[in-house]
Symmetry: D2
Subunit: 134 residues, 4 copies
Amino acid sequence: MTAHRVDIRVIYADTDAMGIVYHANYIKWFEIGRTELMRARGIAHADIAPLGFALPVTRVYCHYLLPSRLDQVLAVLTTIDYVKRASLKFTYQIWDEALTERRVEGYTVHACTDTGGRVVRLPSPLVERLRTVC
Amino acid sequence: MTAHRVDIRVIYADTDAMGIVYHANYIKWFEIGRTELMRARGIAHADIAPLGFALPVTRVYCHYLLPSRLDQVLAVLTTIDYVKRASLKFTYQIWDEALTERRVEGYTVHACTDTGGRVVRLPSPLVERLRTVC
Amino acid sequence: MTAHRVDIRVIYADTDAMGIVYHANYIKWFEIGRTELMRARGIAHADIAPLGFALPVTRVYCHYLLPSRLDQVLAVLTTIDYVKRASLKFTYQIWDEALTERRVEGYTVHACTDTGGRVVRLPSPLVERLRTVC
Amino acid sequence: MTAHRVDIRVIYADTDAMGIVYHANYIKWFEIGRTELMRARGIAHADIAPLGFALPVTRVYCHYLLPSRLDQVLAVLTTIDYVKRASLKFTYQIWDEALTERRVEGYTVHACTDTGGRVVRLPSPLVERLRTVC
């Protein structure tokens, strides 16, 4: 199983007064990582909303190994850890562009909920697509 | 007419790699300024939403005079410039805590829209409260 | 040992199109929580920087139990979990204003580094103040 | 003279509880627009910093014509309005991906400053590259 890769360019808005990327901003890039992984498997937001469910984040973990700086290109590598009845988990690694050093690693866990916020089963077609490659 | 004041403490999340507050973040503080000015005049979000209208920003302008830094307390001073039939304008000044130097000044213009996004008249009770002091 | 409390008011900038607070924004509020806890113990940023060291985040974890919405006041409760030779850990709980329901809980781990980014011992005066109450 | 185009995909982090892109976030995309325009003309951040100067934003204006929503691709079109002795101005238009409707338009003005924050002349090689096409 290979990870899905999407690249990000660091701008001033992402950095802080320590001169490096502010830690919480990597967690926004996790969102880009999983969104593009799902799109690559045929699941865009426009495919989920009409089905009446959402995948809110229930847990996030992030380990910062090395800092990133202004104008660097970062590679966000995303994989699906598991797909259960009503939840799923993504893992992330963020590397420099040339993939020579790992900067950040982490995960997010998501519940499957209906529009009222109640936990429900993941729809079968979605599960199949998510499990295709992993 | 005096301006409404609300204080903000700068955190790392607000700063960038130049070592100062990132310019777009002042515009979030404009939101705090006008929200608290309106609350002081008896208009909270909870009073607006049930009436079925919103006040989206249609224009923003910001002039940066001096930089702000980590951990400084800033005073956001907000006034109402005008209240028209279907729009209103707020002006802002952001000073250091002791009000010795003006750091930023700007304005936002807002349309009054219904839940479908169409421009509508500002409800009379709202207009009265907004015009009370200015 | 009691937690240090600081209150936050949710603005539009904090929310997302699900109508709730965007998950990564709680992690910015963790920064406010630990900064104010440290200030209450006599350690402001201005006390740390001249000593030539920093406390970058090395790990963050966040568990989302219940959503928060626009204009709600949230109570960020921060405690110090441990203070070691060259690292420390804060734990956080975010509740509604009346402390009737816990919305979010999490932690951050920090390394103590010099200006060159190398891990160093936490200065003794700092350790003493951090350990005072916990 | 044609505008420089760079595309952005809207994620949850960019939206707010009105269900649309939060107004201040377009101003971050202005940063991406001008950074990529400058890179296309041979001026990356790594080319500016060693010369000992910076281009902080001194004014920003933004007019919101139509809202943008989750997962839409937006085209940020950037042009250079003018390059003076010690300042320059960029103008921006943000359209939908197919360029059928203009959503946002605005500008930023920048001063040229040295590392101490004093206004200085724009270095000649920079001026030449910036004026090449406009």
